[in-house]
Structure formats: C-alpha cells, structure tokens
Symmetry: C2
Amino acid sequence: MTHEIAVIPGDGIGQEVTPAAVEVLEALEIDFEFVEADAGDAVKAETGEALPQETYDLAASADATLFGAAGETAADVILPLRTAVDSFVNVRPAKAYPGVDAVRPETDLIFLRENTEGVYAGHEDRLTQDVSTLTRVVTESASERLADFACDYVAGDDHDGFSIVHKANVMRETDGLFRDTVKRVADDNGVETDEVLMDAFATRVCLDPEQFDVIVCPNLAGDVLSDLAAGLVGGLGLLPSANIGPDRALFEPVHGTAPDIAGQGVANPAATIISAAMLLEYLGYDEASEDVHEAVEATLEDGPRTPDLGGDASTEDVTKAIIDRL
Amino acid sequence: MTHEIAVIPGDGIGQEVTPAAVEVLEALEIDFEFVEADAGDAVKAETGEALPQETYDLAASADATLFGAAGETAADVILPLRTAVDSFVNVRPAKAYPGVDAVRPETDLIFLRENTEGVYAGHEDRLTQDVSTLTRVVTESASERLADFACDYVAGDDHDGFSIVHKANVMRETDGLFRDTVKRVADDNGVETDEVLMDAFATRVCLDPEQFDVIVCPNLAGDVLSDLAAGLVGGLGLLPSANIGPDRALFEPVHGTAPDIAGQGVANPAATIISAAMLLEYLGYDEASEDVHEAVEATLEDGPRTPDLGGDASTEDVTKAIIDRL
Ligand SMILES: CC(C)[C@H](C(=O)O)[C@@H](O)C(=O)O
Ligand SMILES: CC(C)[C@H](C(=O)O)[C@@H](O)C(=O)O
C-alpha cells in the first residue's frame, strides 16, 4: 500500500533539513509518495497567505506530513496544520545525545502535550479600551483522549506510568477537570501516575531530571516545559516532535528557521530526520524507524558533524553519512 | 515613626523561619511593632478558615507583612493576602549564592511578575459536563502600573533595561495588550527593552542565563519562569520575594512548608531573612537592608550552615550568626 507523505519545508533551514529527511526516507525504498506544498513567510509574501488552502487540504488528507519550519508566520502555519491532522497530542521527546554539550546530560523525558485547547483554543476579546480577555477551554473529552493515548504509550514501552503536570491549585475548574480526568482514565487502566504543579516541575526538572519520565500536560504547559527540557539537553537543535491525530499525523523538528545560517547548506538535519523516524514508527515501519534512529545516533557520536556541533560538515555530508549507516 | 509589621508564620517551617527573621529585624533596633496572626492548614483545621478575616485585615492595614509558608491551603492564603496589600508586582530575585550547588551558578535574574490578573483573575465556569472555561484577564491599566514600576526599578540600579516575556504569538489580544503597553511605557521613559516568547525564554535561560537581567512578565509566566530560575540556582531554598502594592507590601520566601524537616529546628532561615532585608529596603532602611544582605551572604559563605547546605547547624545557630555579623 502506498502512503502519501505531505512535505512542507517552509522557510529558512526548513528548506534544507526537510529535503534531507526525505532523502533518508527515500533511501529506505518503502512505497511512499511524496507531495510537496508551500507554507510560511515566503509564500505569504508572494500570495498574502501563510498557509494556502491546498497545503491545509494536503495535510488533512495525506497519511502523514513532514513539516520543516516557518518564520514570523509560525503560529499561522503550525496551529492550523495541527488542526488539519486533528492532532490531539504533541509527542515531544527531550533527551540529550552523545556529542552534544548539555547542562543536564542525564535528561530523558517524553512530553505528551494536549494539542487542541487550553489557551490555544484562543477565544479572545477586547472588552473595553482597558480590558482584554481570553477564554481558556479544557474539556473532559480532550483530556480523556490524551489520557487514553498516554496509557497506551506507557504500556507499549518500559515506563512506570506518567506524571500529570498542571496548575489546578489556581485553575481549579479547568486544570482540575484536566487532572481529575487524566487520573481517572489512568486509574481505570491500572497505570500509575503522580501529580506535579507546573511551577514545581520547572524547579525540580532542573535540579534532577531523572525523577521524571513521561509527562502529560495541558497545551501551554507542554509548550513551555518541553522547551525548558530542550534547554537542559543543549538546545532545540536535536529535538523532534510528532503531532498525532486519529487518522493522520504531522512530524516536525522543534527548532525554528535559524535565519542566521539559512541558505548556507550547513543546517543540522538530525532533528528532522529523527522526526522522520517517528513518522516511520507511526506508519508501522518499526524496524526502519529503529534503523534511522540508530544511524542518526551513530552519526552524532562519530561524525561527520555540522558546525552547530563543532564540525565543518554540510547538511548533505551528514545526510549521506546517515544514509550510509542504514 | 513606628512601622507596624504583620507577621504570619503559617505552617511547617514557616513557624521556624519567620520568628528567625523577626529576631534579625529586632536586633536592628528600629521602631517596629510586630503583630502576629494565623493562616494556613493548621488554623483551617481548627476554625474551618485558612485565612481568618482578622489576618486579612491585619495585612491590609499593616505597613508591611512578613509571611512564612502555607501547606495545602497555600493558594487560599497567599492569593488573598496579595490582594490585601493590593500588590501589583511580585519581585523575585533569583541568584546563586556562594556555597550553594547550582547547575548555573552564573544566574542572576530579577523577575517582575504581574501580580493581579492573567489566569489568576480566575473566572472559571463548568459550562457543560464536558466543557470548562477560564477567563484570562489582561488590562492596559495593570500592564501600565507594572511597566511604571519596572522603569523605576531599572533606573534605580545598574540595569540596561528589561526583557518583556510573553506569549503574544498565541495570546494575541491579551498578551499583545500586555506587550504593547509595557513597551510603550518603556519607550516613553527611554528604557530599553527586548522581547522574548516565554517558551524561547525557557530554553535560552537554561543555555545561558547571563543573557538576561530583569524580566517583566504576566502572572503565570512569572510563576513558572521564576521557579525555573530557582532550579538553575540550586532550588527554592534561598529565594526571597516581595509583593509590592502602592501603600504596603508583603514579603515571603519562595519555598514552601518543607513538611519533611518541619518541627526539627533545622530549617534554613536565609530566604526569609533575605525577604526581611527586602522589607527593610521597602520601608526606606536602605543601610540596614544592605547590612542584612551582607550578613546573610557572609554566613552562607563561611557558615554555620543548616543541613540543606551540608552543615549541621540549627535554625537558631544560623540566625545568631547572622545577627552577630550585623
Ligand atoms: C509557533 C508556536 C505557535 C508553537 C506553539 O506555541 O505551539 C511553537 O512554540 C511550538 O511549540 O511548536
Ligand atoms: C501557591 C500558589 C498559588 C503560588 C502562585 O502560583 O502564585 C505560588 O506558586 C507562588 O508562586 O507564590
């Protein structure tokens, strides 16, 4: 069966790292059909729209999407694309890799971020000259869907359970509903959980990241706390992510467009290639996924390396080295 | 002129570190009148109320309040107490001290946290069985008041300006109003600012805290990001804070009740004593404030030390050593 893969490179180094990840996928000789589409600052400058309707439609119909990065228009691109794939969870692994300078190299975390609501539901009003409001939305159904996913996730691997991170001591009704629902689903599935307030989590993860493993949290908490974990492992440069929906999914590196190095052919393609490995696993190619993960890790360890990791290899050199190791 | 100081020890080690800070203030022989009041889990267990009306009234009329910590009831105690002093800004310095193990010892930050609104304004509803909402409120007037304070703050010391941390790419109207207002006030005062998204801040402060100095941010961002900074400097143990209102203020250590060591007489009083030094500065006793800061720093460096810092001194030993150094 052919899988259709939407490829949306976007802006900046997205134009360099996304084709690199496609090269790796092509090298696996799986029956993929790649369809490319535009999004981001450049297409907005041309057409007035950061996310053309045909790009949205493509992501909404392809089996999986590989996205690079967008510049100023990032929110206008990625938030609708997450909706296009009906993605209810953003899976964000944050682990340190050999060869990468990290303040907490022992960090190895998986964030399961609610991906549809919270402040991102985004009903905002300017009530008066003085007063603006935003309606934060938390539903039982979205919390359940996330919790079901989290229970499957920890069952399928060697995890002891998960931590529910929230701020229900202040957001009693909304984060209270989130916490109670996720806890109930976990209890029903015999999955162990503990609870941590999001501010306490921020302190504790810096002091000792090994006390955490899988973290289930609302949308903005997941955004900020996974970026905090990125800081502990040495930056956004190597972090992949998966936006999972019931029928399709979108994969993207956590890094941005890196305007300072864009166009020079020296961007590190690792995060996007690891995202492609997550795509392979999502589509059921577990062995190929494992191979790509191993090839990337071997390349991070033994080189060649791009300048961000102290080497002088090009994006193309690193991509070739990864393909050679498959 | 006598200053009335409300003293609210609260629960756990609050009962040990708050009297220690009062001892230090008494040793200065300034004309203070200390009035003690109850709040927290213990008084709730007795009377059904975590924050008795007379405690609220005392904080609302005293010149300054020194608060220790509250347990399970923390939010029921500290949020109304912040309202009692009409506190519009929470000043949270996060710096590493000699003798304290820190993952980023070069951290030296001041958070100026909006202290009245954001998600803490807290209008929540359960619309249906499935749907809960919270109305996040951001006003131009509160943002202006905070910005005015921030401009004075950076003028009075050797700061180059401040960073505005927000999430206006998602919360466009509310955090947009916050950002635009703070920036306008800063521009009008000739104060330099830069802008950082709160997720990017979380990454960047771990990678290199020295790129930041004074941070002005909404309420929840300030809560989480200052606790993140606490993680970088080795924990909440030594961090003080000041909740400043137009006519009065409340000072509290950032740490909690530490139930594991409460009642043993070995709690580290440093954070509360540094909070008392901030109280002295607030009331205009700049020299006494400086003396207390120096006595605490000398004691952290040369001992005696409580067990959290690897020593075996008691709260009382450390307090006496600080007083001896005044
Ligand atoms: C670009 C922005 C809207 C986005 C988010 O906040 O989700 C980004 O920070 C991310 O985490 O992917
Ligand atoms: C106890 C809680 C309500 C409080 C807050 O969120 O403000 C605490 O975390 C703090 O930062 O002082």
